[in-house]
């Protein structure tokens, strides 16, 4: 299977933000969630995941706290900050506009989000 590095960088950020909108999660969890949600189509390589997580953290959109994982191990949990939430809304809007536009160009009716 192709690694997800093909994803546009901005898209990966959007996916991470959207995933974290459901609550704090550690890096491995984020990767799993995206993989499941995309029905195993999107596999996030660690080579992209951690740079992206850190980049978002340095931007102040997400924050990291050490906590205990589900099997009681020390893990780093990421959660959305206030700015991150706003950013997510903005990026979602951009995404909708972009995918609508691409859909129009390709002559397809955009599928409902599932």
């Amino acid at each position: 299977m192709q690694p997800s590095t093909d994803l546009l960088q901005g898209t990966l950020d959007l996916l991470i933000l959207q995933t974290l909108a459901g609550g704090p999660m550690h890096g491995w969890g984020v990767a799993q969630r995206i993989q499941q949600a995309s029905k195993e189509v999107l596999q996030i390589g660690q080579g992209s995941l951690y740079p992206a997580l850190h980049r978002l953290e340095y931007k102040g959109w997400i924050r990291a706290d050490w906590g205990a994982s589900e099997n009681n191990r020390r893990a780093k949990f990421y959660s959305l900050t206030m700015t991150g939430r706003k950013q997510l809304q903005a990026e979602l809007k951009t995404w909708d506009r972009l995918s609508d536009a691409i859909g129009l160009v390709l002559g397809r009716i955009p599928e409902a989000a599932g």
Binding site: P3, H26, G27, W28, A31, G45, Q46, G47, Y50, P51, H54, R55, Y58, K59, G60, S69, N71, R73, R74, A75, K76, T83
Partner: protein, 874 residues
């Protein structure tokens, strides 16, 4: 946005432990392993699969690390540490590099601190770049002046200036009469003077408008120096009455400490310049009083525009004030204040700056060359770093970091050197260099130095950096040798060329200076000294009193032992101020002189009879002035041989009438235009015993003694003091006067010579380095050649030939550049053409010998290579 930057900033300063990332990544892998085990794999297989899924751990780690804001700062720190370690290990490389840079940067800094004020630094006035001097000039007065008779006309009708201000023509001696008397310099300026310059008094105020009106209150502004030295900076000086020249004046202001007059003449006491329009129409025969005028251009108006706009006013004035036959000689002049203040020092400043930059260039080339050698020595190391993943950019940065570090170290040493050099410059410099007393290493100069060193670092760092190793470097040793040497060789050729330019410039100046020193002045300077007596004008207020004083002094000094001759003159050759006369003012046998035009002027001198014997000027025809002549009503003149040949070509001048006087003698020519200017024809008037002979410029006493001037001077002083103990006397031997005139060429020659020497030394070291390195690189090749039958002579030719090619190429290029550059020196040269063949031949020979020596030392080493040893050489 603000938030984002704050977050970034926070991460910049809080260092995150790399362990945390390790732990995070480890956790990720553990999770994968667990999932795989849960999916039914064995523990070992699960871990293997997890690692495959994860991909390159190191790459992920590095990429994550690089997300951190300012992460590259860490690598700079690494580069620095690495560079420093390298320098410490390799002192043989580091010390010469820093020394070279220190010489280059130090000399440049010292020169820059001298020329900065002359060429670049803004004048210490508000809008200094818009200040100009305005007026007319003619062949006897080259500094702009105006007369009260037309000043108001110009001021009221001018367009280009937003402010105009006037001062008296120059400071005049005045006396402070108090219990602590002092002789001072006094000046007048008007109420608009300080505001136009943007200067406010440090204490008190400027003149009020009513104080520059006729019969206004008598007030003065004093200089900071006078306030400090004479009044101990007493704030109570304001409104105090001080007695200047016998009448009281009230102090209303004190000038700032660093204030400099636009004429650069220091003054202690300033009176309001009182000008009355009506009076000026009649004063001084209708011309009005002379004055200097300064003005501030309106924003956006250029000097050329101002000149064009003032031209009609000037034409009108010239046509109404100047007699028709002299009009050609009068010109309007508007110059920037900088040009007036620096006069002819600008060309000298550019030449010094240019030559010191040439030295710096050679120094940087040397450092670049040395760094390249070092780079070649580290080839393998760099190749290994490159193979381990250091990017090309990273390697270039490493080289640049090293160069910058070296340059800054060089700059630090250079500043110390500059401080010393500057002291030497100031000691050596002639009096004519403006602002020299203010030259010093300040913040501006330090910034310049740092900039210079970074520039030098970039220059000497980039060249070697351009040749970072390719992968082949790991395996190859000799193949890539070629391209690299081309660069180094061109550097050496450039160095030789630049030092050729410097050397020939220095040699030309040296030859010119020798001509100046060895020329015959036409006068005897040994045992002769001059005494300037500054009679206080308010006590010696008539010419009769002054004449009496001078004659008394002369008689008293004549009685001293050892005096050979004593005379009065208004000036003394060969230089300094000398009075002059236009050709148009000359009449011959009652008719105006018809010969050559007004371009150059005659020198005139009013002398007592003993002048010629005091200076040992031979009278070649007729006779000199006699003591009896001084009492007679018959007016007589003596003319110089040059003047006789000009106005009486092929005729006997004795007995002819020149300007209404009878020519009684022809004197041998003397140098009278300074040391390097051509001689002017000269006319001597007799200074007799009638009052009118003592008008005008205060006379100077010329004393020739058979004893040493050192012994006689105190006696002269006491004789004058016996007549009036309060008058100051200034004495100087004629040798000192002449030597001072030679200060300027001496300064230029010494500096350029020093730079040329530095340049040559560095260029030769550079050449030596290149050839030695080539020999070292080719040891094996030489061994092979010898094993195949090449003689030692062949080898010597092979190696030396390379050096000779570089020398010839550099020398030719340099010669071309030197011939072009010599045109710039032309104004500084005396009796030497800018293309003096002998000089260039000598310089080429010197350069060739020095360079050949630098080539033959390593070439001889190559010749002695033992083939067997060389073949084993690795």
């Amino acid at each position: 946005m603000m938030n984002e930057w704050l977050t970034r900033l926070r991460f910049l300063f809080t260092r995150r432990k790399t362990d945390e990332l390790e732990e995070e990544l480890r956790f990720h892998v553990e999770q994968s392993v667990e999932r795989n085990i849960a999916a039914g794999m064995t523990a070992e297989e699960a871990r293997r699969q997890a690692m495959i899924d994860f991909g390159g751990v190191e790459r992920a780690r590095q990429q994550t690390y690089e997300q951190r804001p300012g992460w590259w700062l860490g690598t700079v720190e690494q580069d620095l540490r690495y560079a420093l370690r390298g320098f410490r290990r390799n002192a043989v490389f580091t010390v010469p590099v820093i020394a070279t840079l220190a010489v280059g940067i130090g000399a440049t800094t010292a020169v820059f601190s001298v020329v900065d004020r002359i060429l670049f630094r803004s004048l210490p006035y508000a809008h200094g770049d818009r200040l100009v001097t305005v007026g007319m000039v003619h062949s006897l007065e080259k500094q702009e002046f105006m007369m009260g008779g037309f000043f108001f006309d110009w001021r009221d009708h001018q367009q280009p200036f937003e402010a105009m201000a006037i001062q008296s023509t120059g400071p005049h001696a005045c006396d402070l009469v108090e219990n602590n008397p002092a002789q001072l310099d006094c000046l007048d300026f008007d109420a608009g003077y300080l505001p136009m310059l943007g200067i406010s008094p440090v204490l008190g105020r400027n003149f009020l408008p009513e104080e520059v009106l006729p019969n206004g209150p008598r007030v003065v502004i004093i200089s900071y120096g006078l306030w400090q030295d004479h009044y101990n900076r007493d704030a109570g000086i304001l409104n105090r009455q001080i007695d200047v020249d016998g009448s009281p004046a009230r102090v209303v202001g004190v000038l700032p400490r660093d204030f400099q007059f636009p004429t650069l003449q220091p003054c202690d006491v300033i009176f309001p310049m009182v000008l009355n329009k009506a009076d000026q129409k009649t004063a001084n025969g209708g011309y009005g009083n002379p004055m200097r005028t300064f003005a501030r251009l309106k924003p956006g108006v250029s000097i050329e525009q101002a000149r064009a706009e003032m031209e009609p006013l000037f034409d009108h004035t010239r046509d109404s004030f100047v007699p028709a036959e002299m009009r050609k000689d009068f010109h309007l002049s508007i110059r920037s204040l900088r040009d007036r203040e620096t006069q002819d020092a600008q060309s000298m400043a550019w030449i010094l700056l240019g030559s010191v930059f040439a030295v710096l260039l050679i120094a940087c080339a040397n450092v670049a060359s040395l760094m390249m050698v070092r780079g070649e020595g580290r080839e393998r190391e760099l190749a290994v770093r490159s193979a381990l993943g250091a990017s090309r950019g990273r390697l270039i940065r490493q080289t640049l970091t090293e160069a910058a570090l070296l340059s800054l170290a060089g700059a630090a040493a250079g500043i110390a050197l500059a401080e010393g050099l500057l002291r030497v410059f100031v000691d050596l410099a002639p009096t004519g260099v403006p602002f020299l007393d203010r030259a010093g290493l300040d913040l501006r100069i330090a910034l310049f130095t740092i900039l210079l060193s970074l520039l030098c670092g970039a220059l000497s760092g980039l060249l070697p950096a351009l040749q970072t190793p390719r992968v082949v470097a790991l395996a190859a040793r000799a193949a890539k040798f070629r391209t690299r040497t081309v660069l180094r060789r061109s550097l050496v050729v450039g160095q030789i060329a630049v030092s050729m330019v410097l050397l020939s410039g220095a040699a030309l100046l040296l030859k010119s200076f020798r001509n100046v020193e060895e020329q015959s002045l036409g006068i005897e300077t040994g045992g002769v000294f001059t005494a300037q007596i500054a009679l206080p004008g308010f006590r010696y207020d008539t010419t009769r009193k002054q004449m009496q004083f001078y004659l008394d002094a002369e008689a008293a000094i004549r009685r001293l032992p050892g005096i050979r001759a004593i005379a009065f003159s208004d000036s003394v050759p060969p230089g300094g101020w000398q009075s002059g006369m236009r050709w148009t003012d000359l009449t011959i046998d009652g008719k105006p002189y018809q010969g050559e035009g007004t371009g150059d002027t005659l020198t005139t001198r009013k002398v007592t009879p003993d002048y010629f014997s005091a200076l040992n000027i031979p009278i070649v025809r007729g006779h000199g002035f006699t003591e009896e002549d001084t009492h007679s009503a018959e007016r007589e003149v003596i003319i110089s041989r040059l003047l006789a040949a000009r106005i009486f070509p092929g005729e006997d001048p004795i007995g002819r009438r020149v300007s209404g006087r009878t020519v009684v003698g022809v004197a041998e020519n003397v140098k009278n235009g300074g040391l390097v200017q051509p001689d002017a024809p000269e006319i001597y008037f007799l200074r007799g015993k009638s009052e009118s002979d003592w008008d005008g410029k205060k006379p100077v006493l010329v004393i020739s003694s058979v004893l040493s001037p050192k012994a006689v001077a105190p006696w002269v002083r006491s004789q004058i003091a016996a007549i009036d103990p309060t008058v100051p006397v200034q004495m100087e031997t004629l040798d000192q006067t002449v030597s001072k005139l030679a200060d300027r060429p001496r300064f230029e020659t010494a500096l350029l010579g020093f730079f040329a020497f530095c340049g040559l030394l560095m260029a030769v070291i550079g050449l030596y380095g290149v050839i030695s390195f080539a020999v070292a690189q080719r040891t094996q090749e030489i061994g092979v050649r010898m094993a195949l039958g090449a003689t030692r002579g062949n080898i010597l030719r092979l190696i030396a030939g390379e050096g000779v090619r570089l020398i010839v190429l550099g020398g030719m290029l340099g010669l071309g550049a030197a011939l072009a550059a010599a045109q710039l020196l032309k104004s500084l040269l005396y009796n030497v053409g800018p293309h003096d063949l002998v000089t260039y031949a000598a310089v080429a020979l010197l350069l060739a010998l020095a360079a050949l020596a630098a080539t033959f030392i390593p070439a001889r080493a190559a010749m002695k290579v033992e083939p067997v040893v060389a073949l084993r050489y690795e």
